[in-house]
Amino acid sequence: MSEAIETQLQKIRAKRDLSCFDIYSIDQLTTTDLSLIFTVAAGFRDAKTAKLTLGKGNTQINCFFEPSTRTQASFDLSAKHLGMDTTNVGGSSSAKKGESFIDTAETLDAYNAKTIVVRSSEAGVAEVIARHVNASVLNAGDGWHEHPTQGLLDALTMLDHFKSETLEGRIVTIVGDITHSRVFGSLVRVLTKLNATVRVAAPATLLPEAVEQFGIVVFHDIKAALDGADVVYALRVQEERGAKGFIPTLREYAKTFGISERRLELAKPDAILMHPGPVIRDIDVHSALVSRHPQSRILQQVENGMAIRKALLWLLVDRVDGASKEFSRM
């Protein structure tokens, strides 16, 4: 059974490799890389939870300096399905003792781990670690910067829906806290690479400086932003933003930017609704829309997350060309 799956996956992969050895930003990926990732991920999705041997003999360390539920579980299970050994470390113990995150990473690297998955509250941690280790580093979210696997799984979900290899001519409207969102950071980069038309809708307090330079259009009027959209992508707005003066109350946010059934009707009739989770029901998205609504793709996103992560892990730990990361420990 699993042998047949592996043969099928090898056929899909067709001896192709990624152009990079770490995944800390969507900026590293070419359109050829994206197409390879999406094709292989679709293959893994069909394989469900089959126990494979494609990553056997390789070790993965999930280094979550910032706690995570879904991303950590997804990365861990993905590696295990590929036959890899995994272990989880929280950064807080050594960090509390005063250890630099770079020293922590170098120590983990000395276990000859093949992949290190890094999540941090601060921007840039995965990218800096990638410069200090032999292992391939996968960014599982760094501060407000990026969350590349989330961006990839979101793009895959959209491509599936449109049964297409690009998002040319598709309007994606992203609503919510843009400034503090690592999900947005990766999503906007992957969507523009796939030629989507990207709109963002948020109060000006939740938009970072010069955000339009990503090649996107900013709306403060939710109705105009949703008009004719193919994808409505809601981001979580955290309660603490209220306390810091970004919005008066979540109540007012829900009234002005929350996605209700009526608002969703402004988008195209076949538009899909997406959210990276965790959803704050009735604030970001009306409760009735969350998981069971026909237009909601929130659970498909989660499933695609596993597929994307398995694809990346396989492509990174088992390179056909045998090339290795250019790295020298100084």
Partner: protein, 431 residues
């Protein structure tokens, strides 16, 4: 009696409008004569052919960390770094531990400077007690003990009411107030310039208006009180526009400086989460850099400084958001000025030297920064043709955190004299 003759150097002495090949005779630590072909013999003769001879450079803003953080820098290592860069006089900022808000710390710094005996160190005292921004420090006593200025530097006085009192009280005792202009409520945790680069990096940004508003506040209060105000390390278009306007309105009590990194480098240096490029105020975008250069060309700026800020490695090996702010600069400041302002054609060498010698001297009312006959013989000799790559591992400073790491610069100090004594020759410190 000891004498020293510097022969055939290209003397650039902006205060005295000298810019030609001349000899300089120094006797007993004082400049005796500056003329063509001095025939007198001296105990020591330096052939300065091909070199540029300037007054020893004056830096109005350095952090020598002593007392308190001798792991980062000491008065000795800071002085050695200064000499390597051709700097002979430095104003030491008061953010030591404890802060220089009392006569004991000022006297300690002066005593250490005398013991080390390398360069002239002029301490600045704190404007408020413990730089806490709540109660005035004993300014008269600070002045009596030797403080040349008052500043809370990195902890800008936020309360405009207190800042007004500070200026009024400083004026009472004829003290200079130096302000690092920052509006904390607008900076709000920002760690780099707020703009397209910070958005791409996902880092909290410090908006330009944080500085602009504080500069405007400081200028208005200086105009109201008549206190002498010096604005430290200006980095924004808004700041230099406000200063230009204040000067046009006749405010002679206001002076302003730029730190050399702010006309040389932009926020793009932060890409890759390079913590050496994290500083305060932050490296700004090109638009601001252009405005700063224009202000320098138009004469709005009186001084170029380093804001020399040494740190230990662990304080920079942190996520960008938590890394220490600042870059060392004493060993690169002349070369940065020469490379980015003179060589690139923005200003003349004489104008650049003026901004690093007699003009900053005027701000702190020092008679140094000239090659006038009778002046203390603080003299630096530079080779303005030498190209070199910045390698912080070769620095005298304990701080290896340098934003110019790896950059190609032109211009290097070859000899430095302080009070007529040769203290640095070809990169070697002479004790």
């Amino acid at each position: 009696m000891s004498s020293l003759l510097i022969e055939n150097g290209h003397v650039v002495d902006p205060k005295n409008k000298r810019d030609e090949i001349l000899d300089i005779l120094v006797v007993d630590g004082v400049i005796k004569q500056v003329a063509k072909d001095i025939s007198e013999s001296a105990d020591t003769t330096i052939d300065a052919s091909g070199l540029t001879v300037t007054p020893g450079l004056i830096d109005l803003q350095v952090h020598f960390r002593e007392p308190g953080r001798e792991d980062r820098e000491t008065i000795e290592t800071g002085s050695r770094a200064a000499l390597k860069g051709g700097v002979t006089t430095a104003v030491a900022m008061p953010n030591s531990t404890p802060a220089a808000d009392n006569q004991s710390v000022i006297e300690f710094v002066l005593k250490r400077a005398r013991e080390v005996g390398l360069i002239n160190i002029l301490p600045a005292g704190a404007t408020t007690r413990g730089q806490g921004g709540e109660m005035l420090s004993e300014m008269w006593e600070l002045k009596q003990s030797g403080a040349v200025a008052l500043t809370d530097d990195g902890f800008d006085v936020q309360d405009p009411g207190l800042l007004r009192r500070a200026m009024e009280y400083a004026k009472t005792h004829d003290m200079l107030v130096m302000s690092h202009c920052e509006t904390d409520a607008l900076t709000d945790g920002g760690v780099m310039h707020e703009g397209w680069v910070s958005t791409q990096l996902g880092l909290p940004g410090t908006p330009d208006v944080s500085e602009d508003l504080a500069v405007a506040k400081n200028i208005m209060l200086a105009q109201k009180t008549g206190a002498r105000l010096h604005l430290l390390h200006n980095s924004t278009r808004g700041a230099v526009d406000a200063i230009t306007a204040a000067k046009a309105a006749g405010s002679k009590n206001i002076t302003a400086e730029v730190s050399v990194q702010h006309f040389a480098l932009t926020d793009e240096e932060c890409v890759g989460y390079n913590t050496d490029a994290k500083m305060y105020p932050p490296l700004r975008s090109q638009e601001h850099l252009d405005a700063i250069i224009t202000a320098i060309k138009e004469g709005t700026i009186e001084a170029l400084t380093t804001d020399h800020a040494p740190h230990i490695e662990p304080d920079k090996l942190l996520p960008f958001e938590y890394a220490a702010m600042g870059s060392v600069g004493l060993e690169t400041s002349f070369a940065v000025m020469y490379t980015y302002l003179v060589k690139s054609g923005h200003i003349s060498l004489a104008d650049g030297i003026a901004l690093m010698t007699h003009k900053p001297a005027g701000i702190i009312r020092s008679d140094r920064g000239t090659l006038s006959e009778g002046a203390p013989a603080d003299i630096s000799l530079f080779d303005t043709t030498e190209e070199w790559t910045v390698d912080p591992t070769t620095f005298e400073s304990k701080g290896k955190n340098c934003v110019f790491n790896g950059k190609q610069l032109t211009g290097k100090a070859k000899y430095v004299m302080v009070g007529g004594q040769i203290k640095m020759k070809d990169g070697d410190i002479l004790l």
